[in-house]
Amino acid sequence: MPDDNFEKECLLICEGVGDKRFFQKLFLSRGIGGDIEVKSVNENIDGQSGGRGNMGNYLKAVQENENFIENVKIIIIVSDNDEDVNASFLEVQKQLRIADLPVPENVQELVHRRNKKSVAVLMVPPGQIGNLESMCLPAAISKWGLQEELDEWVAATPASTWPLGKQAKVKIQALISAHHKRLPETGFAAHWRSDEQLCTPLNHATFNDVVSFLERVPEMLGR
């Protein structure tokens, strides 16, 4: 069935399904996000990847939905900083222009334009290079330890020359796999659906900046 679920006033759009599940779990864990609907790019298309480069067309598509037109007031775009904080933000700005939406000059800034939804961009990890996995890694290590072992192991693999964000993906993947005895093939995206004891802990301070920003949503909505 086509996606018609645009009932809340704030729509948070992230790059992939793993990010979507992270935010849904974070909202439950921190008791926030009551006004926020989380979607990921291309989530309704089988076999189609998400990613920042597809955000523009996805955003164009959702703007034609009647529930979106009627209910959504704010769009929050979430994207990874990857290896270059500025270049990644510039790419998000480009996607917003493709979608003919307001383009913020700065991250976490809410911008408005007549007859358009307001837009803010949240880059993760806030102010640092990396991605969602590198933001989650300190929380995972706080629960399962093994930091030195992970560092040594990655140093012994071809990943040793990879950017830190990609190394973080390798490390957290290994940690999650090693703690899912029944399904070791469980990946980062899927593990958010596991029991609480098998999930990266979301009460960790590494998420506080993101949570602080999202706690401002009611204020952005004029409440």
Partner: protein, 343 residues
């Protein structure tokens, strides 16, 4: 309600009661030059009976009341069309003049005030048309022996057909249209197109059924030709749509709830043929649907080069008013491709 920049194919969607059918009927009504079309649309909506009893006021309120906003006969409905060929415009304004008296003051040559006369007016309904290149004319329905009679003084019709969602195609109308194609040696094109969709039908011809002309089909495994409508309601509907398009060259064909009667797997090919036929005969389509499958099939039937020729019109009821959201072809297709609901 305003709808601008309609395209060759206009898909109309929207919730029940949001005004889809009203939009299509308004288009059909102003395309013609006789309010008699109202009687047709009433029948398609399920109203029965062509004889009326009661006062003129009762009959006008019953038969024509829903043409007026909130059934308020003081609020005159107006429908305007503007075409892109030769800048043609058409306007229809409907007015109800209630029973009463009108004061007439005779002209005075000497400045003295004379007695004011009164003229009795019987309530009546006026359909005032203004059509570029044809001027103004008025049609007033008359009540004659419990029937409503319309006299249209003009033939300035737009070639338009309306396929109602709940109505089976008229066999007589189909026969007449087929006959015209046959006379012009165009029937073969229609037959071949039809049979390419339904290969079990080998040929279509015009025969008499109880003295009435009707389309008959030669079908695999059946020794005699049989009425087309006996084989399948969907086939009959498809034939009726193709015949309408061929008949209304340079005109408009309106189809309400196109998906009714068609097997879902056939919808893509049916769309392709309807779109190709409409291009071939230069016919503008206004087609409503409730079906997500039908919209997906439509998308599959559209080539990239045709995207600029399509538009989605979504009727929405907002604060008790119908508004139309118009979505251009590219955005419409993009939303379907992202599996976003656009109905």
């Amino acid at each position: 309600m305003k709808v601008r920049d309609c395209r060759t194919v206009n898909l109309v969607v929207g919730d029940n009661g949001s005004g889809k059918t009203a939009l299509l009927e308004a288009l059909f009504l102003v395309a013609g030059v006789s309010p008699e079309l109202i009687s047709k649309t009433r029948v398609w909506r399920g109203y029965e009976g062509s004889r009326f009893a009661g006062t003129r006021d009762d009959i006008i309120q019953s038969v024509f009341g829903d043409l007026f906003y909130n059934f308020d006969l003081k609020l005159k409905p107006k429908i305007n069309l503007r075409g892109d060929q030769k800048g043609e415009t058409r306007r229809l304004e409907i007015a109800y003049v209630p029973t009463g008296t009108k004061r007439i003051r005779p002209p005075s040559r000497d400045g003295k005030i004379r007695q004011v006369a009164a003229e009795n007016i019987v309530d009546r309904l006026r359909f005032d048309y203004n059509i570029s290149n044809h001027g103004d004319f008025t049609v007033v329905p008359e009540f004659n022996e419990e029937q409503i009679v319309f006299n249209s003084p003009s033939d300035a019709v737009v070639s338009a057909s309306f396929h109602a969602s709940m109505r089976n195609p008229s066999t007589g109308e189909m026969a007449s249209r087929f006959s015209k194609l046959s006379v012009n040696f165009e029937a073969r094109r229609f037959i071949e197109t039809f049979c390419s969709h339904f290969p079990q039908v080998r040929d279509i011809s015009l025969e008499l059924w109880g003295g009435n002309p009707m389309l008959y089909a030669e079908v695999d495994g059946i020794k005699d030709r049989i009425p087309l409508s006996n084989i399948s309601g969907g086939m009959n509907k498809f034939a009726s749509i193709l015949l309408s398009i061929a008949h209304q060259r340079n005109g408009v064909v309106i189809i309400d709830e196109i998906e009714n009667g068609f097997y879902y797997e056939r919808m893509k090919d049916i769309w392709k043929t309807i779109i190709n036929f409409s291009n071939e005969y230069n016919v503008q389509l206004f087609v409503s649907t409730h079906s997500s499958e039908c919209i997906s099939a439509f998308r599959s039937a559209i080539y990239d080069s045709q995207v600029k020729d399509i538009k989605l019109l979504r009727t929405v009821m907002k604060n008790n008013e119908t508004i139309v959201r118009a979505i251009e072809g590219g955005s419409f297709i993009n939303s379907i491709d992202h599996n976003i609901e656009i109905r």
